[in-house]
């Protein structure tokens, strides 16, 4: 700790700034113009400021600050270190794009009053900032719960619709399940001396059993927020229910904040890391990612598809966390640093590309009022801005070079290639299988993304109303451009950012990739002769080659083009309905991965006058895990209702009996 904590004070001030913007919404709560065109752009400016501060803080030593607020003997403690700074960067940069988009997106007459929405939105942002700079369990939990509640109210913006209330309820329920896990986790980590600052927890010496308990409670708590299977059920409900900028914030930022929590507790607060924690996390991550991507492939609602794709990405991130734990536990610092860099990089990637995609679905939703993939199509002609920018996000999420998704995938696969060096013969046999599964997930992600993009933006419009769709406005374009630029920059210049991320691995693992990142253009994390990848050269040569081929063809041949109607297969009555639908595109996946789904099919009989074909794909976890638990809860609560008679004399009797019992106990 050196000098005055200026950065930390500025970050706190910016969080307060977001809060103030939220409150300013109440000056004219019903005016969309004031809130959308005045306050949201201001929020975006603060987002950029947070980004800049985070970049500064990444290379500076940790700062701490004690606020004169909080409990009598536990004042709020704040700390800004490299790990916090990375996630501040993520929050700030993503929020800047989403806020500027929201400025154009929120229109009058939709759900809650704009002023209220503005408060909830900025409270959500501020609480996420506080989560990453909190340095005691009390403040952390307060901020965590504020985050959960403000996002709950954002999800239920259109609370008049029953399915949205239901989605909000499920979200709240699982968020609180997670919060209980976190409370217990902090309870374990104070180690018997009842000190709830993170400082004290770092010093606490837990036995391996209690440390494991703390780790798994944290995994439960943060996994519920991040959407680890089987705690993922809220994601596909809440994301479609929320307005698109809120989905973008929740999926792009909030899920990553849960990853922050896991990293903070595992590598900073706990003094030991056992290798089998890593194995469990890795297994959970792999299953989550496979589950998410397979379910994404069969979705027919564009926002549900993206929600499942988020589950997949969270799985990949947890896989990275698991690898880091394993390498760290076996004292392989360089490899642990590599896995951690891949994890953090994937967090940043997911923040940018998933927000970009959620926002573009928002624009599509506004333009067409349709969320169902079966009723969209051909929007690249009507909405070129959204379509081309969404293409960037699509390719990024699909993990294709030279965009950002590929960089983290590449780093993770490189980390996997070193697992045979582990001094444990059983895991070094098992782990390369993980690489195989990761490769499968990555390839499936491309399948999902082709479906997503192709069905929405390409082909012919499936409904006639789509020909009236309007492209998004100027502010929305700026927001989308900001995020797309982030995807491209993260893809092309990974080395400078990875050099910045070194601070985190030095802080958490005591090792970094520092000396390996000499050339700004060449990514060679371990040694250049082992593996290297240069996105800049890759990108440039692709562009140059495409240009050469285009020019060559023009120069030596000609550019003559005739327009004609597409080939009708010799069949005169082709309609847009004959294109592959989202169901059709998902059909092979449904067939191959059938055991993962709970499917209900209604097939028409040959004698139906109006035949209907219906197939419904559902989650096994609902029926095998959640429904039985809900049944037990109902049974227990019906027992409790036996006690509640609703007559005052009975309650007086209860009080009397309680008093007698207490007296007997006291005497």
């Amino acid at each position: 700790m050196t000098g005055h904590p200026t950065d930390l004070i500025s970050v706190t001030a910016l969080a307060c700034g977001w809060l103030a913007i939220g409150l300013l919404g109440f000056i004219r709560p019903r005016s969309t113009g004031w809130v959308a065109h005045g306050l949201f752009p201001l929020g975006a400016v603060l987002g950029i400021a947070v980004t800049a501060l985070a970049l500064v803080a990444l290379v500076q030593p940790a700062e701490t600050l004690i606020l004169p607020l909080g409990l009598p003997d536990l004042h709020f403690q704040l700390r800004l270190d490299a790990l916090s700074a990375v996630f501040l960067l993520l929050i700030g940069a993503t929020a800047a794009g989403i806020s500027i988009f929201s400025a154009g997106y929120f229109r009058s007459g939709e759900g809650a009053a704009p002023g209220l929405l503005c408060l909830q939105y900025h409270l959500f942002l501020a609480s996420m900032v506080v989560v990453v700079i909190a340095d005691d369990a009390y403040l952390f939990m307060v901020a965590w719960e504020t985050m959960a509640l403000s996002s709950y109210f954002l999800v239920t913006t259109q609370h008049r619709l029953p399915e949205i209330r239901r989605a909000g309820f499920i979200y709240l329920l699982i968020a609180h399940l997670g919060a209980i896990g976190l409370l217990l986790c902090f309870g374990v980590m104070q180690g018997g001396n009842w000190q709830f600052t993170f400082e004290a927890m770092r010093a606490a010496q837990l036995t391996p059993v209690w440390a494991s308990a703390a780790f798994f409670l944290a995994l439960l708590g943060f996994g519920a927020k991040a959407g680890l299977v089987p705690l993922h059920v809220w994601l596909p409900e809440a994301h479609p229910a929320a307005p698109s900028p809120v989905s973008a914030l929740m999926s792009g930022v909030m899920l990553e904040i849960a990853v922050y929590g896991v990293l903070r507790i595992t590598f900073d607060l706990l003094h030991m890391q056992l290798w089998w924690w890593g194995l469990v996390t890795l297994g959970l991550g792999l299953f989550t990612s496979l589950f998410g991507v397979v379910f994404a492939a069969v979705q027919t609602d564009m926002k549900r598809l993206l929600a499942y794709s988020s589950i997949e990405n969270i799985g990949i991130i947890f896989l990275g966390v698991g690898l880091t734990v394993i390498f760290h536990a076996f004292h392989m610092p360089l490899l642990a640093a590599l896995a951690l860099a891949a994890t953090l990089y994937h967090c940043l990637n997911h923040a940018f590309s998933k927000s970009l995609l959620f926002l573009s679905t928002g624009s599509v939703l506004h333009a067409t009022r349709e969320r169902s993939l079966g009723k969209l199509g051909g929007l690249i002609h009507r909405m070129p801005w959204v379509a081309w920018l969404a293409l960037v996000g699509t390719l990024a999420i699909a993990g294709l070079p030279p965009l950002n998704g590929f960089v983290s995938e590449w780093l993770l696969l490189q980390a996997f290639l070193f697992t045979p060096d582990l001094p444990h013969s059983y895991i070094n046999m098992l782990l390369p299988m993980g690489a195989a599964a990761l490769a499968l997930v990555a390839a499936l992600a491309a399948y999902v993304m082709v479906k997503f993009y192709g069905v929405i933006f390409l082909g012919q419009p499936r409904e006639s109303s789509l020909s009236e769709a309007q492209d998004c406005g100027r502010l929305e374009r700026i927001g989308l451009l900001w995020l797309a630029a982030g995807c491209v920059l993260l893809g092309i210049f990974p080395v400078p950012l990875l050099a910045l991320l070194n601070g985190v691995s030095r802080e958490l693992l005591g090792a970094s990739l520092g000396s390996q990142l000499q050339h700004w253009w060449l990514l060679a994390p371990i040694a250049p002769e082992r593996a290297s990848y240069s996105p800049v050269v890759f990108m440039l040569s692709t562009v140059v080659l495409v240009a050469v081929v285009v020019l060559g063809v023009r120069l030596f041949y000609h550019g003559r083009v005739r327009k004609a109607s597409p080939w009708g297969c010799g069949f005169p009555l082709l309609t847009p309905r004959m294109q592959d639908t989202a169901e059709g595109f998902g059909q092979p996946i449904r067939q191959i991965f059938e055991p993962l789904f709970r499917m209900r099919r209604e097939l028409p009989s040959p004698f139906d006058t109006s035949p209907h074909y219906r197939v419904q794909v559902e989650d096994h976890f609902w029926y095998t895990l959640y429904m039985p638990i809900a049944g037990w809860v109902r049974r227990i609560s019906s027992l409790a209702s036996e006690v509640q008679q609703g007559r005052i004399s009975v309650y007086l009797l209860y009080s009397f009996l309680t008093l007698v019992a207490l007296l007997a106990f006291a005497l």
Binding site: G377, G378, I380, H381, L391, G399, L400, P401, F406, W410, Q414, L417, P420, M429, P432, M433, A436, A439, L440, A442, A443, A446, Y447, V450, K451, G454, L458, G459, Q460, P528, E529, R530, A531, S532, Y533, S534, V537, F538, S541, T542, V549, V553, Y557, H558, R560, V561, R562, K563, S565, P566, W567, C569, P576, M578, Q579, D580, G584, Q587, P588, Q591
Partner: protein, 316 residues
């Protein structure tokens, strides 16, 4: 990077681009011989491409710019892949910029763009082709990656030239893990290049076609570029196979003209043999039903993973 290596790199790519249709023509000619036909001659793909370039392009009225961009991207991607794969030299400077994982990513990018272009017009065949192409892709891609992983674990590098150099030093020593990987790779090669038994490049039968359905709407120069890149893709895959499983005879030193003069005929002969083998496989097999393609590819994936396991078990 000095000028000599740069020239070598460019020569390698240009040679690949020029020679690729020849390999395609050779395979077709062999197939014709095996089926007791005279065949059109090995130069037929060149004539086909020239003819297509001279025609006027006909494009569907509702095609987006993406549709017109894709053939160029496709061709550029395959050229880029040729720059990474050692077919004559192992000292390729461009291989520093992209290793085997990036190579797999490059093939995936090309595939995704092709599928998107196929969906762009919005006909029933196009989107069906896109779906099937992606179906083949999502199983073949991890299998290919696992083949590369096995080779990478042997040579402690993911850079393709380094892998090839390490394997070539082994002097006819057979790695058991590579045997599994080799079979898996062959299956991937057949699937990814739309050959029998997964797909039939010579048919436009709607129920069975995969790759041809995706390019149904292309004509003239766009189709020429696509056909050329298909030939280049086959050339690339064959060269990967030769480099991984028959790595002998490549020139290591870019400065030595002697090595190069030796490497050229060796690579030529290897390609001829490989092309004949491919034609043999295609003539001896029948096309599978489309629903069996996933099983075929899953087998390839499992074989590749098995190869990885064998390497880890035996350490070789």
């Amino acid at each position: 990077m000095n000028s000599v290596t740069l020239i070598t790199q460019l020569t390698e790519v240009i040679l690949a681009v020029v020679a690729a249709p020849l390999l395609m023509g050779w395979v077709n000619q062999c197939r014709a011989w095996l089926q007791n036909r005279r065949g059109p001659g090995v130069l037929q793909p060149y004539r086909q491409i020239r003819k297509l370039f001279h025609k006027d392009a006909v494009i569907a009225a509702n095609a987006s710019p993406l549709f017109r961009l894709v053939p160029y991207v496709q061709f550029a991607a395959m050229c880029l892949a040729a720059a990474i794969i050692p077919s004559l030299w192992t000292g390729l400077p461009f291989a520093v910029a992209a290793d085997t994982i990036a190579l797999v990513g490059l093939f995936a990018t090309a595939r995704v763009f092709l599928a998107l272009a196929a969906m762009d017009i919005g006909t029933a065949f196009g989107s069906m082709g896109a779906r099937r192409e992606m179906l083949v892709g999502f199983l073949a891609e991890p299998a290919l990656l696992m083949v590369f992983f096995t080779a990478s674990l042997i040579s402690h590098s993911t850079s393709l030239p380094t892998i090839v150099e390490t394997l070539a030093q082994g002097r006819l020593a057979i790695y058991p893990s590579l045997a599994f990987a080799g079979v898996a790779f062959l299956m991937v090669l057949l699937a990814e290049n739309a050959r029998i038994p997964v797909d039939n490049p010579a048919t436009h039968l709607e129920l069975t076609m995969i790759h041809e359905a995706t390019v149904l709407e292309y004509s003239a120069r766009h189709l020429a570029l696509i056909e050329w890149s298909v030939a280049l893709k086959l050339f690339n895959y064959t060269c990967i196979g030769l480099a991984l499983f028959f790595p002998w005879g490549l020139a290591a030193d870019t400065h030595s003209l002697q090595d190069l003069l030796l490497a050229m005929p060796i690579t030529g002969v290897k390609l001829l043999v490989a092309g004949f083998g491919l034609a043999l496989i295609e003539s001896l097999n029948t096309k599978m039903r489309i629903f069996r393609a996933p099983e075929f590819l899953t087998t390839a994936f499992l074989l590749a993973v098995l190869g990885l396991l064998v390497h880890l078990l035996l350490g070789s």
